[in-house]
């Protein structure tokens, strides 16, 4: 590149200026400036990619401290495995390309484990739910689920259900309760707004989102989570995991083992209770 550009200057141009020596020096120093070479990475030091803007899972507080459930999980894992972590903030769209381009070594950013993503990267075991749950008016006056926790199709007669279009929730609903009257929305916010306005009686969404964006807000005391958490793997995937580049089986198994330890010793539940009134993982993952 240097020789190519300085070659340009070796041609006598119309201006008749010979700047080649000066420019060669300048270009060499510039090249050295731009392509900073980072030597071999310390084996014990791993870089973790996350958005840093996704409260309450990974975000920066006003004091500049990186916090959230994902951050707590990463610290817990690092302590067990004796790793030193360095955090890299990366926008969601570029998360997987950045991992593949070696900008960091792990993705701990609330990324759901899906088959499509598994084609490009590897995942540890899950550390957070990817589930659905219903939210209903407290005065609805009927049980939507039977005693075994299965939805009761008869109970859904005569009520309207709000769902987000093209989501795991709408897929599940169409297959499980085809007779229910469904209203589709384009955004999570619209879902809550129409539930509040009375246009729908029940909605189904991610219980963590519902809690943070709706149930915990003033004026919404008349609503509650209804029925059990629905975690049908065929629809909702196995959960949120730690992403890493393929071909690192040992690291992957170590991460999964560390996450299992965090479930067993109650740390994961402790992290969740900082932000939610319930745990957001499945204890079965530790088996």
């Amino acid at each position: 590149m240097i020789s190519l550009l300085s070659k340009l200057f070796d041609f006598k141009n119309k201006m008749g200026v010979k700047m080649n020596i000066l420019n060669k020096k300048l270009l060499i120093s510039l090249t050295a400036l731009v392509f900073t070479v980072i030597g071999p990475a310390n084996a014990e030091k791993l870089r973790v990619g996350m958005e840093c803007t996704y409260a309450p899972f990974n975000f920066k507080t006003a004091d500049g401290v990186l916090s959230g459930y994902d951050v707590d999980v990463s610290k817990g894992v690092a302590e067990i495995l004796g790793l030193e972590l360095e955090y890299v903030c990366q926008k969601w769209d570029g998360m997987i390309p950045a991992l593949l381009a070696n900008k960091f070594d792990l993705i701990i950013a609330s990324m759901s484990i899906t088959d499509k993503r598994k084609e490009k990267i590897d995942f540890s075991g899950p550390y957070r739910d990817s589930v659905g749950q219903m939210v209903a008016r407290k005065d609805l006056g009927r049980d939507l689920f039977d005693s075994a926790g299965n939805p009761d199709a008869a109970a859904f007669k005569g009520i309207k259900v709000g769902l987000e279009r093209a989501t795991t929730y709408s897929d599940w609903f169409e297959q499980t309760l085809p007779s229910a009257k469904v209203v589709l929305y384009d955004s999570n916010e619209a879902l809550y707004l129409d539930l509040l306005n009375g246009r729908t009686d029940v909605i189904m969404t991610n219980p963590m989102k519902a809690h943070l964006k709706f149930l915990s807000k003033d004026g919404n005391e008349g609503f509650e989570l209804a029925g059990p958490v629905i975690d049908d793997v065929a629809y909702f995937g196995v959960g949120v995991g730690i992403g890493l580049r393929q071909g690192q089986e040992e690291l992957r198994d170590n991460l999964t083992g560390a996450l299992k330890t965090l479930i067993k010793n109650g740390s994961l539940k402790e992290y969740a209770l900082k932000y939610f009134p319930f745990q957001i993982h499945n204890d079965k993952w530790a088996d």
Binding site: F9, N13, P40, F59, G94, A101
Partner: protein, 231 residues
């Protein structure tokens, strides 16, 4: 407004980052522009073709794409290259600051190439003839005749390029640099006040670009000062 308490320092340091990117990319942009213009005006067909390819590619592709390609592409390419010589190297990193600075300097430099080329062509042939008649050397002609005439012609467009550079710094948030837009997003995630946070970013950018506009206006007035007596 109390939502932004605690975020002022973040905005301040992010503004410093934006100004640093601006300064570094301004310098690079002028260099790229001058190299490009020199190549386009040279007698060499190869140099002309390379310069034409440069301006076609960088003026004709979306800026965000160039930023992403340079950031991700350079890391992959350089790592592969360095591993040929030393297999123990795990990765070669191009920091977001330099990848972003280099990318926006390349983009705006391609526009500056045309501005500088036009400005050099706009130098009065009579002035050059006069310099020759006086026996000035090529270098003397360049320094005392071409440059003083050329920068006056180039200045209005050059002011535009500087404003483009300032605004393009916002693109670098996509590769994770802690600049203004990124701070606003982080603050929004915690405070839930997107409007306030992004308005502040807008005001800071407006402030920077106003200073640049005034500076260019001042330079233009200075460039015309020798004509004042003629009016």
């Amino acid at each position: 407004m109390e939502a932004i308490t605690g975020w002022w320092d973040d905005y301040f340091f992010a503004t410093i980052v934006v100004l640093k990117i601006f300064m570094a990319s301004l310098l690079l942009m002028v260099i790229f522009g001058l190299i490009g213009a020199a190549a386009k005006l040279s007698n060499s067909i190869i140099a002309k073709k390379i310069a034409n390819a440069y301006t076609i590619i960088f003026r004709g592709t979306p800026e965000i794409l160039v930023v992403l390609l340079i950031y991700f592409g350079s890391a992959i390419a350089l790592t592969a290259l360095f591993q040929v010589f030393d297999p123990s190297i795990k990765y070669v990193d191009v920091p977001p600051f330099w990848a972003g600075t280099f990318a926006i300097a390349l983009i705006v430099g391609s526009y500056a190439t045309e501005t500088f080329r036009g400005a050099f062509l706009g130098v009065e042939p009579g002035s050059i003839e006069a310099a020759r008649a006086l026996g000035l050397s090529n270098i003397q002609t360049f320094i005392y005749i071409r440059i003083p005439e050329m920068w006056r012609i180039a200045l209005p467009s050059f002011g535009n390029h500087m404003l483009s550079l300032v605004k393009d710094t916002a693109l670098i948030s996509i590769i994770g640099l802690n600049e203004l837009l990124f701070v606003a997003e982080q603050a929004t995630a915690t405070t839930g006040k997107p409007f306030t946070m992004f308005i502040i970013v807008g005001l800071i950018y407006l402030g920077i670009s106003t200073v640049i506009t005034l500076f260019v206006m001042g330079l233009e007035a200075y460039g015309r000062s020798h004509l004042r007596a003629v009016k």
